[in-house]
C-alpha cells in the first residue's frame, strides 16, 4: 500500500479546489489535489470531444471570476486571457431581433425600436442593479457570520455588516429607501422586478434570462431576481455585469490555475477517485483512493458538492443526525441541459445580419416571460421544456483556437431540463429526442443551421452529474434560494467552510457565495484554513 503525507489534501480539481490549492501552496503548505479524471477543471473544462473542435463542454462563459484571484494566481502568466462580449441578442418570431451592444447609444436605439420608454428605463435599471452589485461585492469575500452565535468573531461580523449599511460614505451613503430596495431585490421574482421598469415583453424576457440560468425557479418565482444579480455581479476589466469568453474555452481557466499551482510546488494526482475520507475520533486525517492507496493530510478540503461529500465519501455514522438530515434535504436540482455543437459553417440567422456584433454574444429565442415560465411549468411536471430557454453562443467567432478554420463551435445552454423524467427516467432515445427538439427550435431562426451540424454532444443533468460529479447535475452545486444563501449555505451553522468533522473543510460552490466560475468560495475557504493554521499571506484577495 502506498502512503504519503501532506499538509493539505484537496478532493476534486475544479476551479474552486484549485483556487484553494493555489492560495494554500502560496502560503508554503504542502498541498495535493486529488482528481477523479485524468484532467483537472471540474465544470470549467475545454475538451476535444469531436476531432478538431474544442468544447467548453460545461460552463461556457466567464464574468464572475474575481479579478483579485486572477491577479493573485497570476493566471495571465499561466496562459489565461478573457475576451469580452461584443453584444447579445434575442431573435423574434416576426423576423426582427432585439440586441444589446457595447455601444451605449446603439443599445438605446436598439431597445427604442421596441419601446422608447424601455430604452430610457434601461439606464435606470442598469443603475439600480449596479448599486446592488456594489452592495453585494464585499459580501462575496466575506465568511458569513453566524447570526445565532455569540462568538466574538460572529458578533463582530454582524456588526461589520450592520456598520457597512449604516456608514455614511460607504456605498455613497445608502439611505432607508436603498436598503428596502436591496431587500426587494433579494426576495422578489424577476418578473415583478422587471415589470417595475419595462413595458416591452422582449426587453423583459431578454433580461430575465440571467435570473433563471441554472436554477429551479421560474421568472415568476420569488427570489429569482437575486439569481439575476448573481449573474450581474461579475465584471470584465472593471465593466460590472459584462461577460466574456475564456480564450481556448473555459478549460483555460483551470489549466492556468493548475499551472499556477504546480509553479508553487503543488502536486496534482489525476485519475484517482476518492472513495472515502478517513476519520477517527471525529477528526479527518486522510483519503482512500479507488485503488486502495491512502493519502494522509492534516487538513482535508472537499471541492465536491455538500451532498456528494457527506452522502458519498463520508460515512453516515461519522456525522451528527441533524447535519446528515440537513445535507440530505439540501436542494440541488438538475434543471439545465447543454448542447455542444460542431458546425461546418457559421449559422445564418434569419434576423441578425452577418457581422453584426450582436450575433457574437449570447443569443436567445424566447419570446416573452410567459413562454419562459411555461418552460418552467414543464420542468415542474418532470418534462423537458417544449419551448426551452436557450442561451447560445459561438465562441469560435472571436476565439480562433476552438474550431478548425472556417468551422465553428456553438455552445447551447438549455433551461429547463429535469434530472428525472416523470415518464420513467432518461433513456438514450429520450436524450437524443431532446437534443433534436432543441436543435429544431434553433433551426427555426436560421436558414442553414440544420445543414451545418457536424456533431452534437447532448447533455442532460444526468450526463453533467456523471461527468462532473455535480449531484443531480446542478450547475451551482446547490440552488441559489434564500434558504441556501449566506449563513444558510450550505447548511445553517456550517456556512464558514468548516464541517462537523474536525480538519475537514468545504471549498466548492455549495458554500458561500455560491455557483459560477467565481473562485470566491475557494479563496474564502483558503482564508479560513490559513486562519486555523495561524498562517498569514499577503495577497490581493485574502
Amino acid at each position: 500500500m502506498n502512503k504519503s503525507k501532506y499538509d493539505v489534501a484537496i478532493i476534486g480539481g475544479g476551479h474552486n479546489g484549485l483556487t484553494t490549492a493555489c492560495y494554500l501552496a502560496k502560503a508554503g503548505l504542502k498541498v495535493i489535489v486529488v482528481e477523479r479524471h485524468d484532467y483537472v477543471g471540474g465544470a470549467a473544462v475545454s475538451r476535444e470531444l469531436h476531432p478538431g473542435w474544442t468544447y467548453s463542454n460545461c460552463s461556457y462563459v466567464c464574468s464572475l471570476l474575481r479579478p483579485e484571484i486572477f491577479r493573485d494566481l497570476e493566471l495571465s502568466k499561466h496562459g489565461l486571457q478573457i475576451i469580452p462580449y461584443e453584444g447579445s441578442a434575442s431573435m423574434l418570431n416576426d423576423g426582427r431581433f432585439y440586441a444589446h451592444y457595447q455601444d451605449h447609444d446603439l443599445t438605446y436605439r436598439s431597445i427604442a425600436q421596441f419601446s422608447k420608454k424601455d430604452a430610457e428605463a434601461y439606464d435606470r435599471f442598469g443603475k439600480d442593479v449596479m448599486r446592488q452589485c456594489k452592495i453585494i461585492k464585499p459580501l462575496l469575500k466575506m465568511t458569513p457570520p453566524d447570526p445565532t452565535s455569540f462568538k466574538p468573531k460572529d458578533i463582530m461580523g454582524l456588526f461589520e455588516f450592520a456598520k457597512y449599511f449604516a456608514a455614511k460614505d460607504e456605498l455613497g451613503g445608502l439611505g432607508e429607501k436603498e436598503i428596502y430596495d436591496t431587500i426587494r431585490f433579494w426576495t422578489m421574482s424577476v418578473r415583478d422586478y422587471l415589470e417595475e421598469y419595462f413595458e416591452s415583453e422582449i426587453v423583459k424576457v431578454h433580461l430575465a434570462g440571467s435570473a433563471i440560468i441554472g436554477t429551479a425557479l421560474g421568472p415568476y418565482s420569488p427570489g429569482s431576481a437575486y439569481v439575476l444579480l448573481h449573474h450581474y455581479m461579475g465584471e470584465v476589466d472593471g465593466t460590472v455585469g459584462a461577460w466574456g469568453y475564456a480564450r481556448g474555452g473555459m478549460g483555460s481557466i483551470t489549466k492556468a490555475m493548475a499551472s499556477s499551482f504546480k509553479s508553487k510546488n503543488g502536486e496534482i494526482k489525476a485519475s484517482s477517485p476518492v472513495t472515502k475520507i478517513l476519520i477517527k475520533n471525529n477528526k479527518s486525517y486522510g483519503l482512500v483512493l479507488e485503488n486502495g492507496d491512502e493519502i494522509y493530510a492534516d487538513k482535508i478540503v472537499s471541492n465536491l458538492d455538500v451532498k456528494r461529500t457527506f452522502l458519498k465519501v463520508v460515512e453516515e455514522k461519522e456525522l451528527p443526525n441533524d447535519f446528515y438530515k440537513a445535507v440530505k434535504n439540501f436542494k440541488i436540482r438538475g434543471s439545465s441541459g447543454k448542447l455542444n455543437i460542431a458546425l461546418d459553417d457559421l449559422p445564418i440567422w434569419k434576423s441578425i445580419p452577418e457581422g453584426d456584433p450582436a450575433g457574437t454574444g449570447d443569443l436567445h429565442i424566447t419570446q416573452n416571460i410567459e413562454e419562459m415560465e411555461g418552460a418552467y411549468d414543464d420542468w415542474k411536471d418532470g418534462k423537458w421544456s417544449q419551448f426551452p430557454y436557450v442561451d447560445m453562443c459561438i465562441p469560435s467567432i472571436n476565439d480562433p483556437t476552438m474550431a478548425p478554420q472556417g468551422k465553428h463551435y456553438m455552445s447551447v445552454f438549455i433551461q429547463y431540463v429535469p434530472y428525472n423524467l416523470a415518464d420513467g427516467g432518461w433513456t438514450e432515445e429520450k436524450r437524443l429526442e431532446f437534443g433534436k427538439h432543441v436543435m429544431s427550435r434553433i433551426g427555426n431562426y436560421s436558414t442553414n443551421f440544420n445543414d451545418i451540424i457536424n456533431h452534437a454532444e447532448i447533455r442532460t443533468p444526468k450526463e453533467l452529474e456523471a461527468e462532473v460529479g455535480l449531484t443531480e447535475g446542478n450547475i451551482f452545486q446547490g440552488e441559489l434560494t434564500m434558504d441556501q444563501l449566506m449563513f444558510n449555505r450550505p447548511v445553517p451553522g456550517y456556512a464558514q467552510y468548516k464541517t462537523p468533522i474536525k480538519n475537514l473543510y468545504m471549498c466548492g460552490s455549495s458554500t458561500h457565495p455560491g455557483g459560477g466560475v467565481m473562485g470566491a468560495p475557494g479563496a474564502n475557504a483558503a482564508r479560513e484554513i490559513l486562519k486555523d493554521l495561524n498562517k498569514k499571506i499577503s495577497t490581493h484577495y485574502i
Binding site: 453584444g87 451592444y101 455601444d103 447609444d105 446603439l106 438605446y108 436605439r109 436598439s110 427604442a112 425600436q113 421596441f114 422608447k116 420608454k117 430610457e120 428605463a121 439606464d123 435606470r124 443603475k127 449596479m130 448599486r131 456594489k134 455614511k168 460614505d169 456605498l171 455613497g172 451613503g173 445608502l174 439611505g175 436603498e178 453584426d356 456584433p357 450582436a358
Partner: protein, 400 residues
C-alpha cells in the same frame, strides 16, 4: 412603434444639419450627444468661441431632448413637475425650470415653451420620458417625445439680431428675452426664441428637419461682411461656463442617474434656490425642499476666480495650504481660462464654511508642462457663477 432602421455600423444618428456640419468640420473631431454625432471642434475652438463673443456663432443643438405636452391639464402637470410657478408664464413665453425627485434632488433643468395653456414644449439635456409620464399620472395630458421631429440651431452673439434683421425676419429686434414666436426666415416659417446659454444676445431657431439646410444656409448668407462661424461643443462649453450655466452629469449627477445616493444635489446646493417656489401648492419634492431650505446647503456650487492662468480642471479645493493641515473642502467641476474676461475661472462645490461670496479657498492644480506635471496651489476667491453677463443680452429692442 419606431420603424427607424438601425445598423451597428452607424451607432450614432446624424442631425438634419449633418450635410453642412460635415462640410464645416475640417477638424473632423466629433462628439456624442444623446446618440447624435455633433462637431466638437470645426476648425479652431478659439475662433468659434470668439465668433459668439464678437459676431455670431451657429451651434447645432438638435440633439436636445424635446417633449410635447398637450391636454387640458398641461399647465397643472407642468406645475407639478417643476419647482417654480408656471402659471405666471403666458403664451409665447419661455420659462427656465428645474425638476426634482421626492427627496428634493435635482433631476434635470430645461426650458419650457408655452404655446398656450394646453400646449407646452420642454427642451432639456437628459432623457425624461419616463419621469414625465410617471409624473403625469392622474393628469389629462399626452406626452410625446418629439426629439427627432424638430431641428434646432443656436444662433448666439452680438450680431445675431442684426443678421436676422438682414434676413428680413420681421420685428425680431422686439422679441423680448425668454419669449418666442413664429417668423418667416426667408423661404420658411420657423420658430425663433430669444434664449441661449452664452450669456449674450442670442436666439434659438426651431424648424422642421426638412427646412434645416435652408435655415443653416440663411444664417451664413452675410458671411462675407459679418463673419459667422459654426461653433462646436468645445466652444459651447466655454461660453456656458462664462455665463454660469450648469450642466447635469457634468456639474452634478442627475438624481435619476446617480448610482451613489450622496452624489445627488438639491437646488440650494446648486445655487438654484431662486427657481424654487415654496409658496406653490404642490410639486414633486416640495416637502423635502422645505427641509432643505431650512437646513441650508452643506455645500454649494459657486464661481471661483482662480489666481494665475493655469485652469483648475478637476482640482480638489482646500481651506489652506499649510502642510498636513489642509482640509479638503470642495471640488472643481468645470474650469477654463476666459479669453473675454482675461481671467482664470472655475465652477465648483465648496462646503458650508467657505461658500459665501468673498471667501478664499485653494485649488490644487496639476498642470502639464512638457510632459511633466507641476503641482500648483492657486488661491481662489468665491464669486458669482455668472462671470460674463453683457447688458445687450436683455436690451429691447435688441442690438441691430
Amino acid at each position: 412603434m419606431n420603424t427607424e432602421k438601425i445598423s451597428y455600423k452607424k451607432p450614432l444618428l446624424e442631425t438634419p444639419f449633418h450635410e453642412r456640419t460635415f462640410e464645416h468640420c475640417f477638424a473632423n473631431d466629433w462628439y456624442r450627444w444623446a446618440g447624435y454625432k455633433v462637431a466638437k471642434e470645426y476648425s479652431s475652438t478659439e475662433l468659434e468661441y470668439t465668433s459668439m463673443r464678437n459676431t455670431a456663432g451657429v451651434i447645432d443643438i438638435t440633439p436636445m431632448h424635446k417633449y410635447e405636452i398637450k391636454g387640458k391639464d398641461a399647465k397643472s402637470f407642468i406645475n407639478k413637475l417643476i419647482t417654480k410657478d408656471i402659471t405666471k408664464i403666458q403664451s409665447n413665453q419661455v420659462a427656465y425650470g428645474i425638476w426634482c425627485n421626492e427627496d428634493g434632488m435635482v433631476i434635470d433643468d430645461g426650458t419650457i415653451f408655452c404655446l398656450n395653456e394646453n400646449h407646452y414644449r420642454i427642451f432639456c439635456a437628459e432623457r425624461n420620458l419616463n419621469w414625465f409620464c410617471d409624473t403625469a399620472t392622474g393628469f389629462n395630458v399626452t406626452i410625446e417625445d418629439i426629439s427627432q421631429s424638430i431641428a434646432a440651431l443656436a444662433f448666439q452673439g452680438p450680431l445675431s439680431c442684426k443678421i436676422l434683421n438682414l434676413l428680413k425676419v420681421e420685428n425680431i429686434e422686439n422679441l423680448k428675452p425668454f419669449h418666442f414666436n413664429d417668423f418667416n426666415l426667408e423661404k420658411h416659417n420657423v420658430t425663433i426664441s430669444r434664449t441661449g446659454f452664452s450669456g449674450d444676445l442670442g436666439y434659438e431657431i426651431w424648424c422642421d428637419p426638412s427646412q434645416a439646410i435652408d435655415v443653416w444656409d440663411s444664417l451664413f448668407k452675410f458671411n462675407r461682411d459679418y463673419k459667422v462661424l459654426a461653433a462646436g461643443m468645445n466652444a459651447l462649453e466655454m461660453v456656458r461656463i462664462e455665463a454660469g450655466f450648469i450642466q447635469p452629469n457634468v456639474d452634478f449627477m442627475s438624481a435619476e442617474q446617480a448610482l451613489r445616493p450622496n452624489r445627488m444635489r438639491n437646488p440650494y446646493e446648486l445655487g438654484l434656490g431662486w427657481l424654487v417656489n415654496l409658496e406653490k401648492e404642490y410639486f414633486t419634492g416640495k416637502q423635502a425642499l422645505i427641509r432643505h431650505k431650512e437646513n441650508g446647503p452643506e455645500k454649494k456650487l459657486v464661481g471661483l476666480d482662480v489666481e494665475g492662468d493655469k485652469p483648475a480642471v478637476g482640482s480638489v479645493l482646500y481651506d489652506n495650504i499649510k502642510k498636513n493641515q489642509a482640509k479638503e473642502i470642495g471640488i472643481v467641476t468645470a474650469a477654463m481660462w476666459s479669453p473675454v474676461l482675461k481671467s482664470n475661472i472655475a465652477i465648483g462645490f465648496v462646503n458650508k464654511e467657505h461658500y459665501n461670496l468673498g471667501s478664499n479657498v485653494y485649488a490644487e492644480i496639476y498642470h502639464p508642462e512638457e510632459l511633466d506635471y507641476r503641482k500648483i496651489w492657486a488661491e481662489c476667491k468665491v464669486v458669482k457663477k455668472q462671470f460674463f453677463n453683457n447688458p445687450r443680452k436683455n436690451a429691447i429692442p435688441a442690438l441691430t
